[in-house]
């Protein structure tokens, strides 16, 4: 098949449609799914327990203290939100650049984004000392006559995350409608027909509808891209807006955005490999896709590495005693292990991707991506703790050790992510049908000349 091809042409459009709608309609791989679901539900239960403990006893159950007033909560918030960036980037950015290979990935990437952002969004609520007053962060006519404070990066967060969540949902759903219609038409059982029928809002593929739809979808994509960039830049301001050494840096916005994309693409790769094997989709998620994912991963990874290098240069160039102190702490201090293992998991392992076979072997890509996810988690830990535990005054220097509840809440959110995600791939087409069909059609076109 010619290099331009992404999908093998030895398959029919109809075949694609049957295959993909087949996943929800007559579900293959029930056992594997059930096993995954059980594990996920257990984690979710752990999450519920942790939250109950948290709300009844207070944030004191975590390891935080003064000066380390922020740790796991904010740290995992940033981590999850970072992961949540890949979906929109893949579908929106690559849609605009017309890279057709994204068509096999965008759907589950977006689905992943939704639930990752939910996990992220729940943390700022959990970490409040008095979560029941969360609504004070919204401007509403209160009897107090007091309003939110819009100079605060935390206030910005709320708006950024909510916007990002709603936009992702709408973008995801808009793209989903035609596939839901497809599933509706393939469905035999009444129940499925009604479910997909209502969900697809009665979409009938009218050409005029398609044209309006394309207008909407493309414009949404066009604004979604700057949104993604803005959201994580803004999260970085949560740190950069302070004066704390190791945080107060203009490098942070791009540094965070790239890191986000990096971790996001890693998770996308993991899911791609997982689904590919789970539902036997080798004909749609081809080695070519994995190869391209590997390349993107490598690229974003190297850009993030640049961030590390420049951070050090920045400090040396400024010569600020406190920044220097913090940098030395990061490289040699009590939490140096986070820094160095972050470097290892993020960048050392990554180098394997220069090697073509590594990119094209599913399990290799899976392992490398997993290591990136761990690495980025460590990086966020490092950024938070090493800056806070020794800030300006020697007399306020302290230490931080995560408590059991820190960990349980964190692993709990993984369940909070997996459960709805598994349900999604169970009940809705997890690969964009009409877009893959289009790709296939265009390729066949190209062959017939």
């Amino acid at each position: 098949m010619p290099a331009s091809d992404i999908l093998p042409v030895n398959q029919t459009i109809g075949g694609v449609s049957e295959q993909l709608t087949g996943i929800p309609l007559h579900f293959p791989a029930r056992r594997r799914w059930l096993i995954a679901m059980t594990i996920a539900s257990l984690l979710l239960a752990l999450f519920v327990v942790s939250v109950v403990a948290l709300f009844t006893r207070g944030v004191g159950i975590w390891g935080i203290n003064v000066p380390v007033t922020w740790a796991f909560a904010i740290h995992n918030y940033v981590w999850w939100l970072g992961i949540g960036h890949a979906g929109t980037l893949i579908s929106a950015l690559l849609l605009l650049t017309g890279s057709e290979w994204r068509n096999s990935l965008n759907r589950f990437a977006e689905t992943m984004t939704l639930f990752a952002v939910v996990c992220a969004g729940i943390y700022p609520v959990l970490h409040l000392g008095r979560p029941w007053y969360l609504y004070w962060m919204f401007p509403y006519p209160a009897t107090m006559g007091v309003w939110p404070q819009f100079r605060s990066p935390l206030e910005w967060d709320i708006w950024a995350v909510l916007t990002y969540l709603s936009v992702s949902v709408l973008f995801w759903y808009t793209g989903l409608i035609p596939d839901l219609a497809d599933a509706r038409d393939r469905a035999k059982k009444r129940g499925w027909q009604i479910f997909f029928g209502v969900a697809s809002l009665g979409w009938r593929g009218s050409a005029v509808h398609w044209m309006r739809w394309s207008q909407a979808y493309r414009i949404m994509a066009a604004i979604a891209v700057p949104l993604v960039v803005s959201v994580h830049s803004e999260i970085s301001l949560l740190f950069a807006a302070s004066q704390i050494p190791g945080w107060h840096s203009t490098l942070f916005p791009p540094y965070f955005v790239l890191g986000a994309a990096f971790s996001g693409f890693a998770v996308v790769s993991i899911i791609a490999v997982a689904l590919r094997t789970m539902f036997d989709l080798k004909n749609l998620v081809t080695e070519r896709h994995l190869d391209l994912l590997g390349k993107v991963l490598l690229a974003t990874g190297l850009m993030t590495a640049y961030g590390y290098v420049f951070e050090i240069f920045d400090v040396l160039y400024s010569g600020n005693a406190h920044d220097l102190q913090t940098m030395i702490d990061r490289l040699t201090g009590a939490y140096a292990w986070t820094y160095w293992s972050a470097v290892f998991f993020n960048f050392v392992v990554l180098q394997a991707l220069w090697w073509r076979p590594a990119r094209r072997t599913p399990w290799a890509l899976l392992l490398i991506s997993a290591s990136v996810v761990i690495g980025m988690w460590l990086e966020r830990y490092m950024i938070l703790v090493t800056s806070l535990y020794r800030d300006f005054l020697v007399s306020s220097w302290s230490k931080f050790t995560p408590s059991f509840w820190d960990w349980s809440t964190y692993f709990g959110t993984i369940g909070l992510f997996l459960v709805p995600f598994l349900l999604a791939i169970r009940f809705i087409p997890s690969i964009s049908i009409f877009e893959t069909e289009k790709t296939l059609a265009d390729e066949k076109e190209a062959h017939h000349g």
Binding site: W147, V167, R186, G202, R212
Partner: protein
């Protein structure tokens, strides 16, 4: 004029045949056309005379709305209870920027989505074409051209004949 019917639905094997058929129908003078395809087919824009930009303008409108309301709310807050926050200015427009941008995007997308549904009149669960026996293939791998009954030139027999000549695999009269 057969009021009882919605129109004639002709099935084609691929988008090129559909596009050709649509163009010839247009040449024949049919005006009330529609097509149904499993995926967007740009070439149909010309024969179907589609050049509507209301949706993009709606999106822009939404953006402006979000931008202005964000600015308004934040400025009002400072005005309603002026407090000295860390010696920062009472109206820190640099700080307003973030929320202004976010709401611009949010409302623009909201307007686009609602506008889309409004313009294509969805949700509409029950629609005549669904009566057609083979229509369910329209979302799979078949391409349908529809000449509606309200067309001046519409005549169940002659129009059907015309469609057959245009290369339709099947032609079906859709009851309304």
């Amino acid at each position: 004029m057969a009021d009882a019917s919605y129109g004639l639905l002709a099935e084609f094997r691929n988008e090129n045949e559909l596009v050709l058929a649509a163009q010839s129908a247009r040449r024949e003078g049919y005006t009330s056309l529609d097509a149904f395809t499993p995926f967007p087919v740009e070439q149909l824009a010309a024969p179907l005379h589609f050049r509507d930009t209301r949706l993009p303008r709606l999106g822009f409108l939404g953006g402006v709305f979000g931008f202005v309301s964000a600015l308004a709310v934040q400025a009002y807050v400072s005005w309603a209870y002026p407090l000295n926050v860390g010696g920062r200015p009472l109206y820190p427009f640099s700080a307003y920027g973030v929320v202004m941008f976010e709401l611009t995007v949010l409302f623009s997308v909201l307007f686009l989505f609602v506008g889309l549904l409004y313009l294509i009149k969805l949700p509409r669960l029950n629609y005549p074409v669904f009566n057609a026996s083979r229509f369910r293939l329209a979302s799979k791998d078949r391409f349908f051209l529809c000449i509606k009954a309200d067309d001046q030139k519409f005549d169940s027999n002659s129009t059907a004949a015309f469609l057959k000549n245009a290369g339709a695999v099947t032609v079906e009269l859709v009851p309304s």
